[in-house]
């Protein structure tokens, strides 16, 4: 049986982790490669790097981080942030990424999803969707897609976009609730469920995890195949293996 995935996410800016960790010694505190190694040892099922600066110079930095991580951690890596072209996807895959996540560029140019899937297979194209609750009547699902790291409203319905992204070739969707991100109030189950029941590809839910029950709800109620979290792991509130033990005790299929 397929195991549910626990995926720590490292937001990287200028080559450093920014939802930082302040509980280990300062030298390595923000080093993404060192943090990746810790998560690997804790039994993470996959790692996610999101480059939140994504300028040209930083692209090299990100490739270097992916490269160093792949040299040391023999686990799946998903990388995103500023991916705009097939060339960007190829260079990330060559650096050691297994899947590449596309967000704003896919909204601007949906053909990029298809091009990426045709070249590298749809299993390696993840479309990341940042969604926020909307009262706008043209947004039927009640969730609007935002681009550019959540800064630009698109007037696109999140469920419609999810379905379209899959039909264009996305092999997985990473759904972030902007309302819940960083709040520790739990995943937006309604959003996760709406999307997981509308498409047949795996869904990774992100944004808002604060306690063990949130993980359980994300899988059981939300229908997610993977759950992504940043701060609860960075700040040491939970160790990944402890979370997985708890999930196992509740009868959920996890890899221990």
């Amino acid at each position: 049986m397929l195991k549910l995935r626990i995926i720590p996410c490292l937001d990287v800016k200028n080559g450093r982790v920014v939802k930082g960790i302040n509980f280990i010694d300062l030298i390595d505190a923000g080093d993404p490669v060192e943090q990746a190694k810790i998560y690997d040892r804790q039994g993470a099922d996959e790692l996610c790097f999101l480059d939140i600066t994504a300028s040209v110079e930083n692209r090299e930095l990100l490739l270097d981080i992916v490269n160093k991580t792949a040299k040391n951690c023999f686990m799946p890596l998903t990388v995103g942030g500023g991916v705009k072209s097939v060339k960007d996807i190829r260079s990330l895959l060559f650096a050691g990424a297994d899947k590449v996540s596309i967000n704003s560029a896919a909204i601007k140019n949906p053909k990029l999803i298809t091009k990426g899937a045709n070249n590298f297979g749809n299993q390696c194209i993840v479309v990341a969707i940042d969604a926020k609750i909307s009262k706008n009547s043209s947004i039927k699902s009640g969730y609007e897609v935002f681009s550019h790291g959540g800064r630009v409203p698109t007037n696109i319905d999140a469920v419609d976009w999810a379905k379209r992204a899959v039909s264009l070739g996305a092999g997985e969707l990473l759904i972030t609730s902007m309302d819940r991100d960083g709040t520790k109030k739990g995943f937006d189950i309604n959003l996760t469920k709406k999307i997981s029941s509308s498409v047949s590809v795996p869904i990774i839910a992100s944004g808002g995890v604060g306690c063990i029950k949130d993980f359980i709800d994300g899988f059981q109620e939300g229908g997610a195949s993977g759950l992504l979290a940043a701060s609860v792991f960075h700040f040491g509130k939970f160790k990944i293996h402890d979370v997985k033990k708890e999930l196992k005790n509740k009868g959920l299929p996890v890899r221990i």
Partner: protein, 208 residues
């Protein structure tokens, strides 16, 4: 001359495979050079991509000829993920396309066999069920978890050549193969932690 070469044809996760071999203390050369390939003891065929594009790239570089020539000289070949699929006769990914034809069987879409409606692509960790009659994967790997990320899978014609299975969509699918000098894994041993590294080590120890 390197004993082990990793084929560099533009569609592989070469770096991850090379890194995992490094970790095991095994050196390998990434190359597309004909003479280096035909003289290697073991050829690793990686692959992340679509079957058609990858086969086209292999043929353009005449690596298909190199592989077949090497096999005649008793070289061994290890295909991983898409590289495993390419060992077979054909795939139905983006239309019917011919593979290397080194193993009897066809690569089919997971959608075709998905009776219990699992999500596709098949992404994540699954326990492998070992075929006891194989020489590569020890029985101790039975139930051990490895990482998969794929939408297609080979269906080998000769089932006794299948070295492991996984349960998917209410049926069993062929997650690895071993026949004569050819080994293939649908999963990514180079991404499957210590279990994966051990599988790689055992395979290489057996083959060369």
């Amino acid at each position: 001359m390197s004993d082990i070469v990793i084929l560099d044809y533009g569609y592989g996760n070469l770096f991850s495979i090379k890194s995992s071999l490094n970790e095991l203390g095994i050196s390998a050369l990434c190359t597309k050079q004909f003479d280096k390939i035909i003289n290697a003891k073991l050829i690793i065929l990686p692959g992340v991509g679509s079957f058609y594009q990858a086969m086209k790239a292999v043929e353009k570089l005449h690596l298909d000829t190199a592989i077949k020539k090497a096999l005649k000289k008793k070289s061994k070949i290890l295909g991983i993920c898409l590289g495993y699929q390419m060992l077979f006769e054909q795939s139905e990914e983006f239309g019917i396309n011919k593979g290397l034809g080194l193993i009897k069987g066809k690569v089919i879409s997971l959608n075709k066999i998905n009776k219990s409606r699992n999500r596709i692509p098949n992404v994540g960790w699954r326990p492998i069920l070992i075929n006891k009659n194989n020489n590569i994967l020890a029985e101790s790997f039975n139930g051990k978890m490895v990482y998969f990320v794929h939408s297609f899978v080979p269906r080998a014609t000769v089932e006794k050549e299948v070295s492991s299975f996984i349960k998917f969509g209410g049926t069993k699918i062929h997650s690895s193969i071993h026949t004569n000098n050819i080994v293939g894994f649908q999963f990514h041993p180079e991404k499957s932690g210590n279990v994966g590294l051990q599988i790689l080590k055992d395979t290489i120890d057996y083959l060369i």
